[in-house]
């Protein structure tokens, strides 16, 4: 079969560019809160300071430096939790010899699959308003069913192939087969999935915060900033554009990287077969 070329002109964007698109917001998010900046509150939508002030007269640059922690951190946390729970369920379901256990683990997830994610989150938000932890858990919960199914499918795919049969005939140990071969075969699709999932989680967290269902409306979070300052967009564009650029740069860069990984892992799967 002909190797499927990567899609699009954008995929020919050098790796360095996509990496930079991801790294800039990431570094701002991680190191931003450490930057000592003596910004004094001024007038609302004023031009004072490097990027001016927002609707509450706070320095936009400082908000930008401190707002990434929640915007990206909540998404990363959610995907991590989703993979800890969903990955465990998926791997157990795939490696068990008891069909009932497989069914018992996977069927309940089928039931949860069509639940609209924003609904789950808004219900959680009624009780645990403005709690970054609760929102992160809710976003994770929404992702568990798909993660579990993906991991299960990828593991079964590898475990039912001729390679495992051959390894078994060579009396390779259970751990050798499952961790050494199946585990490695799962890593490719998982890496590709994490790429797209993190972007989706960033979207979801940002939408929740933008709607005011998540963090408090005065939080420095990027999405909250876009929401709060949007009526002043023509007066002081930076208050909206700077945090929006951070979010877009991150998701665009991650999409490009994930696109690369998807093609890479497809090749991996083909080789593994």
């Amino acid at each position: 079969m002909t190797s499927r070329a990567r899609s699009g002109v954008l995929a020919r964007v050098p790796l360095a560019v996509s990496a930079a698109l991801v790294l800039v917001p990431l570094l701002v998010a991680v190191l931003g809160p450490l930057v000592p900046l003596d910004a004094r509150p001024g007038l609302p939508y004023n031009a004072q300071g490097a990027l001016g002030t927002d609707g509450l007269g706070r320095d936009v640059l400082q908000l930008l430096l401190t707002g990434g922690r929640t915007a990206l951190g909540m998404a990363f946390g959610a995907v991590l939790v989703a993979y800890l729970a969903g990955g465990l369920i998926g791997l157990t379901a795939a490696s068990t010899r008891h069909r009932w256990l497989d069914e018992a683990l996977i069927r309940p997830l089928d039931v949860l699959l069509p639940l609209p994610s924003l609904l789950v989150i808004s219900v959680v938000a009624v009780g645990w308003r403005a709690s970054a932890f609760a929102i992160t858990l809710a976003v994770a919960m929404v992702n568990v069913p798909t993660v579990a199914r993906l991991v299960r499918a990828a593991a079964l795919d590898a475990a039912s192939g001729p390679v495992v049969e051959a390894l078994r005939m060579q009396r390779e140990s259970w751990f050798g087969i499952h961790l050494g071969y199946v585990g490695r075969a799962v890593l490719g699709p998982v890496a590709a999935d994490i790429g797209t999932r993190i972007t989706l989680a960033v979207f979801l967290v940002a939408s929740v915060n933008f709607l005011g269902l998540g963090l408090s409306p005065t939080a420095p979070d990027w999405a909250v900033s876009v929401s709060r300052n949007r009526e002043g967009l023509l007066l002081q564009p930076w208050a909206v554009i700077a945090p929006a650029l951070m979010l877009v740069s991150f998701t665009l860069g991650f999409n490009l990287l994930a696109d690369r990984l998807v093609h890479h892992s497809r090749r991996l799967v083909e080789v593994a077969r």
């Binding site: 899609s7 069509p114 609209p116 939408s207 949007r230 998701t251 696109d259």
Partner: protein
Amino acid sequence: MRSYAAQRAVLAIVQLAVLSVLVFVLTTLLPGDAAEMRFTETLAPEQVERMRAQLGLDQPALERFTQWLGNVLTGDLGTSLISGGPVTDIVRNSVGATVVLTLATLAVVVPLAVALGIVMGTRENGRLDRAITSVTLALSAIPDFVIAVLLVAVFSLKLGWLPATWIGGDLLASPVLLVLPVAVLFGRTVCLLSRQVRAGTITALQAEYVVQARRLGVPRRRLLVRHVLPNAAVPGVQELARTGDTLLGGVLVVEAIFAIPGFATALVDGVETRDVPVVQGLTLVLAVAALVINLGADLLCNRLVPRTELLR
């Protein structure tokens, strides 16, 4: 052998049952009940206690659940804590705008995504395919609310061509109100959907029966419409059901930005005022809608490409 449709319907009923329990449990588990939420500032503790008895909140959870479920099954979703009116009225008043918005978006998105997907799929890795894929990939990376904020800034604040917010009146009567909201919703959905149709088309084109049909001299147009499209549509339809989720998120954002009094606005209001019966009712109705859409999508896929077993 049971038919696919029957199996799928049974799954949907189980889903519905689990879902109703879930909605109830999630909303009752919330810290602080309705009586406390509403009255702690103004009422003495014993008055709160009486209120709780009046609202039936002192009953055990199981009893409350059966009562709530019984009411729901007879079409009674409870009473709003804020307005005092029945939740069914709130649902009925808000559902129209959301349905109009969603249908208007789909009417634009589906034909365009199918056309783009086929154009890309039949020219795999051609220049046009690459160009469209790049644009869709880039567009799908921009959050809905960023697009919305920018479009409003340019088209209503700067140029003054289109209204920035809903100012009353019927959405259907003045389509101009729909232009910006639909434009916001359309971007990401088209991207997600057309990529699926593209992938489906490529897979279908490589299938043996298509190669054989081509050898037999089936004309290109007939080949595409009769043989490729039904198979290419399957991932598309599944994605459409799944993007229902993305679309709903978008609808929420769009309704909030353009101040359209729809389902999402009612839901956000309910969350903000901690009006639990309203949130319960709206969540239940939307979840049921999502279930029905998924059921419909699966049945449609099975019509297009018959399968005997449930997809796993």
